[in-house]
């Protein structure tokens, strides 16, 4: 099985021990590096190959309320979510390598991007062009916009 990642949600409310306990029993996965255009249906189809999916919570831009490239997938059974990490993590959906990781369990509010501009933080400082995730990074877009305004 893929080595568990060392990432820990910094906004987790509770002790580190509690967080580790929840992660080790969780049936919920964080799924990242999705295209903004990937739908809940597609995710259901792919993850459904590993077991019965309980619910999917799409990650949304906190201002525009549109998908911003991540989601949570909750299974009924721990074993099914383990299979999803084994067999889906690192394969493609909409031509992008999907990344899966354990999540301590969805809490209302976590579906929103935590970046200043509303989406995920990783999309603020990117310096590459990613058509599936809104083009250039947000900071670059802002710079371009301000300089264009100045030129006018």
């Amino acid at each position: 099985m893929a080595v568990p990642s060392t990432y820990r949600d910094q906004h987790f409310k509770g002790s580190r021990v509690e967080q580790e306990r929840l992660l080790s029993q969780s049936c919920t996965l964080y799924v990242g590096n999705l295209s903004f255009f990937t739908t809940e249906e597609q995710i259901h189809e792919l993850f459904g190959k590993c077991g019965d999916v309980k619910r999917i919570i799409m990650g949304l831009d906190k201002f525009t309320r549109t998908p911003c490239g991540f989601c949570f997938v909750e299974f009924y059974l721990r074993n099914d979510s383990e299979n999803a990490i084994r067999f889906v993590n690192g394969t493609r959906l909409d031509d992008r390598i999907v990344r899966t990781d354990w999540d301590a369990g969805f809490i209302e509010g976590r579906q929103y991007g935590r970046g200043k501009t509303g989406g995920q933080v990783r999309d603020e400082y990117r310096t590459d062009f990613d058509g599936g995730r809104g083009g250039w990074g947000k900071m670059i877009q802002q710079k371009v916009a301000t300089s264009a305004a100045a030129n006018n």
Binding site: E41, M58, T91
Partner: protein
């Protein structure tokens, strides 16, 4: 002072003991790791490693004997590919220390007996093979091995027990013979011939009615699809004509012949197979999957061993063992498969692909998740980009060419794998090569395959992507845009009955009303079923259902989550207007009408409705076979829905069964109060106990100790569930029989051939129900035989039932 001294002494002794314990544990760990790793790649030769390890172990035998015995007897079972390495190691130890050899034999015999008793058939088989190989290393005498074989032959000849049991004893012997055949041929040729003759007799008299149900293809061209025992028998017979010489097994003991031939041998004790009991489960039979022969592989490369050469079996088994060991780590699995020891002597990519597909297509069900095979094939393509994708494309091409005779279950798995694989490789495929499917009937398996693949690709991507991935000429097979079909919104939609109320309800729902408010509006709709006299109250109101279901689902059509929210919030409305089966079928019709262009959505909604008990399993089954769904009858998604419905029911029953079994076990474990009060005739005592028992029941509610009454209640629930399950299977099979019989009769009167594509698909789907749920269907086999699958039935329909019965006969 003296006290301190004593303390010191104590402390000192304690520490020393602890140090000794940890030192011992350390040495044991080291020995374990040495034994486990022997034979893995190192710079020095295997022979010198084995020699060295034997000396190390010999020196430690006195101190760590039980540990060494345990590890040495488990390794050849855990790592069957290293069987000969461990037999050599044990042989060397036996040569040095005869007593240890004897104890090892005792240990391994104990393990075999336990595995047989516990029904761990695969372990037992590997132990038999290892014991056989121990004859090659002069640990066990050939004559005592033959005695073991004879008792297995006796077990295979036993009358009045299931064939699957007898088969296993035959199989265990046959799979050991490639290891020890040569040795027995040289030393005990007559006995070996006697055993071969007994096997031949057994195989000739065997019933093979199950084969048809287990085959991937119902056709033997170009490659015969043989039953596993028959195929293995042919391979072993071929081995005999080659004077028991095979070329795959690496035998390190040959290098130690001079040492080993000096060693004294042990006799195996008599090992009697434990008798059959009604609850013993045996492995199901299977059919050996063949898709390649040597002409499929490149001419310049190594030769693919023939179907009946024992090397083909040995290599395949080895590959299966690698899959067993690494099935949870796909990258490691792909690496290990490609690092196969004799990779230069065989067309490895072809054999890997054949073995992986054989597991994916395994009937009744694959060992592991289908996606586990899919992602392993992806890894293999990434790891070996120069050859693997081509071999896989060639395999896909062959599977497509032979799809006319593929069974419906494997057809579905093939569609599912191929679309998944494409989605990982930018949906690139040489579609031009398959244009011949466009001129075929739409129910022809090739046309069906292509359109089902498009449908599945669509689920993993989006409509534009799928239409752009194929040449334009494929458009007749492309799925429509997956959108809700809301008839009230299209032109002229106002004319539908209830259109005005749909409008009102839509506006109401936007204001997030309570379920009661919605119900009130819905119930005001006139009931078209009500006749003018109005004396008979109709079972349901179809117009109310239509308006409510279509409007609610349409408003939630944005995503699954939106729909689920609607179903949850207005659950009580559903329960109220869809009380009985007719109403539920009416509701399903509405779901279908709205989602007819989006099979995935339809399936997910039905699944949710089953989970939330808005709809019953039987209603779904009856709906699928209803006239309304006739047009969709040969499409795979309909069957996906049927299977998820049956699975839902099965899961429910299995859960209740487990609950009852657990509670019963708990009740037995703790001395029950009612029993003790029975023992106590005195009234007072009895009363007192009754009081304590009611106290207990109070604590028990949080899952502590169940009482007799609670278990009885659970059993009642289970019985009710089992009766529902039986009813569901009866409905499904009866509908199959009706629809198939009608078809046959109709063709007969019209003077047409009944054997159409439609007929083949439907029989295939019937077979699929038997296979996919065989463990549950089996419980009702008797009922099905007396009620449904009676002798007057059409022979073709009856055959599917007989094949299913033969699975465990």
């Amino acid at each position: 002072m003296s006290r301190r001294k004593r303390d010191d002494g104590y402390e000192h002794g304690y520490r020393k003991r602890r140090r000794v314990v940890s030192e011992q544990a350390e040495i044991e760990d080291r020995l374990e790791s040495l034994i486990i790793r022997v034979g893995d790649k190192t710079s020095s030769s295997l022979e010198s490693n084995l020699e060295g390890l034997a000396s190390v172990l010999e020196a430690d035998l006195n101190t760590y004997k039980s540990k060494i015995l345990r590890i040495l007897s488990e390794c050849p079972i855990q790592m069957p590919e290293k069987c000969t390495i461990y037999s050599t190691l044990v042989g060397l130890l036996n040569a040095k220390n005869y007593n240890f050899g004897g104890e090892f034999v005792e240990q391994i015999v104990r393990n075999l007996k336990e595995a047989l008793r516990e029904g761990q058939w695969e372990s037992a088989r590997l132990i038999v093979r290892f014991i056989s190989d121990m004859v090659n290393c002069h640990i066990v005498s050939a004559s005592s091995l033959l005695q073991l074989y004879d008792s297995f032959i006796d077990a295979a000849m036993e009358q009045g027990v299931p064939q699957v049991r007898r088969d296993w004893y035959m199989y265990a012997l046959l799979t050991a013979l490639p290891w020890v055949g040569r040795e027995l041929f040289e030393k005990k040729e007559n006995d070996l011939e006697r055993i071969m003759a007994a096997m031949e007799g057994y195989l000739r008299r065997r019933n093979t009615a199950h084969v048809a149900a287990l085959r991937v293809w119902n056709c033997d061209t170009p490659h015969p699809q043989e039953e596993y025992l028959e195929c293995l028998w042919a391979q072993v017979r071929k081995l005999r004509t080659d004077e028991w010489q095979e070329r795959h097994i690496y035998r390190p003991y040959l290098a130690f012949d001079s040492i080993l031939s000096e060693a004294l041998q042990h006799n195996l004790p008599v090992i009697l197979p434990p008798p059959h009991t009604a609850s013993t489960q045996y492995p199901l039979p299977w059919v050996v999957f063949r898709m390649f022969d040597y002409t499929d592989c490149p001419e310049a490369g190594p030769l693919l061993p023939g179907t009946h050469s024992v090397e083909r079996y040995l290599i395949e088994e080895h590959l299966h063992q690698i899959i067993t060991r690494h099935h949870n780590e796909r990258k490691e699995l792909a690496t290990q498969l490609l690092a196969f020891p004799q990779r230069n002597k065989i067309p490895l990519e072809y054999m890997i692909v054949e073995v992986l597909f054989s597991e994916l297509f395994q009937m009744p069900s694959p060992r592991y998740l289908e996606i586990a095979y899919g992602c392993t094939l992806i890894e293999l393509c990434k790891l070996q980009p120069s050859t693997m994708p081509q071999v896989l494309a060639q395999a896909t091409e062959l599977l497509y060419e032979r799809i006319d005779t593929m069974n419906a279950t494997c057809f579905d798995r093939f569609v599912s794998w191929f679309s998944y694989h494409l989605s990982n490789f930018q949906f690139r495929w040489s579609w031009d090569d398959w244009q011949n499917c466009l001129s075929l009937e739409k129910d022809h398996p090739k046309a069906k395959f292509v359109s089902e693949v498009f449908g599945k690709c669509l689920r993993l991507s989006y409509h534009k992507r799928v239409t752009e991935m194929v040449p334009e000429c494929y458009s007749p097979l492309l799925p429509p845009k997956p959108e809700p079909y809301f008839k009230y919104q299209i032109e002229g939609g106002n004319g539908f009955p209830g259109a005005a109320q749909v409008q009102t309800l839509t506006e109401l729902l936007r204001k997030k009303p309570t379920p009661e408010e919605v119900l009130e509006l819905v119930q005001q709709l006139p009931n078209p079923l009500k006749d003018d006299d109005g004396d008979m109250e109709p079972s349901h109101n179809p117009l109310a259902i239509e308006v409510f279901v279509q409007t609610l689902l349409h408003l939630g059509s944005k995503s699954f989550t939106h729909t689920f929210a609607g179903l949850a919030k207005y659950h009580s409305v559903f329960k109220n207007i869809c009380e009985n089966e007719e109403a539920q079928i009416c509701m399903l019709r509405q779901v279908y009408e709205l989602w007819q262009h989006h099979p995935q959505f339809l399936g997910v909604v039905v699944d949710k409705m089953l989970k939330t008990q808005i709809v019953e399993c039987c209603a779904v089954a009856n709906w699928i076979f209803s006239r309304d769904m006739a047009l969709e009858f040969t499409r795979s998604y309909i069957w996906e829905v049927l299977h998820l419905t049956i699975r839902k029911m099965n899961k429910h029953v299995v859960r209740l069964e487990k609950e009852v079994a657990d509670a019963r076990a708990k009740l037995r474990a703790a001395p029950s109060d009612s029993e003790s009060s029975d023992e106590d005739p005195s009234r007072e005592g009895g009363e007192k106990r009754r009081r304590t028992s009611s106290n207990k029941e109070a604590t028990k509610d949080d899952g502590e100790q169940p009482t007799e009454e609670m278990v009885e209640r659970m059993e009642e629930r289970l019985e009710a569930a089992q009766s529902d399950q039986k009813n569901l299977f009866l409905i499904v099979f009866q509908r199959f029989i009706m629809i198939l019989s009608e078809h046959v009769v109709r063709c007969d009167t019209d003077g047409k051939d009944f054997n159409t594509f439609w007929y083949q698909w439907t029989v295939g789907r019937l077979q699929q129900v038997f296979m996919a749920h065989h463990e549950q269907v089996e419980k009702y086999s008797q009922t099905l035989e007396t009620l449904l699958f009676t002798h007057d039935l059409d022979g073709n329909i009856l055959d599917t039932f007989r094949q299913f019965q033969a699975l465990r006969s």
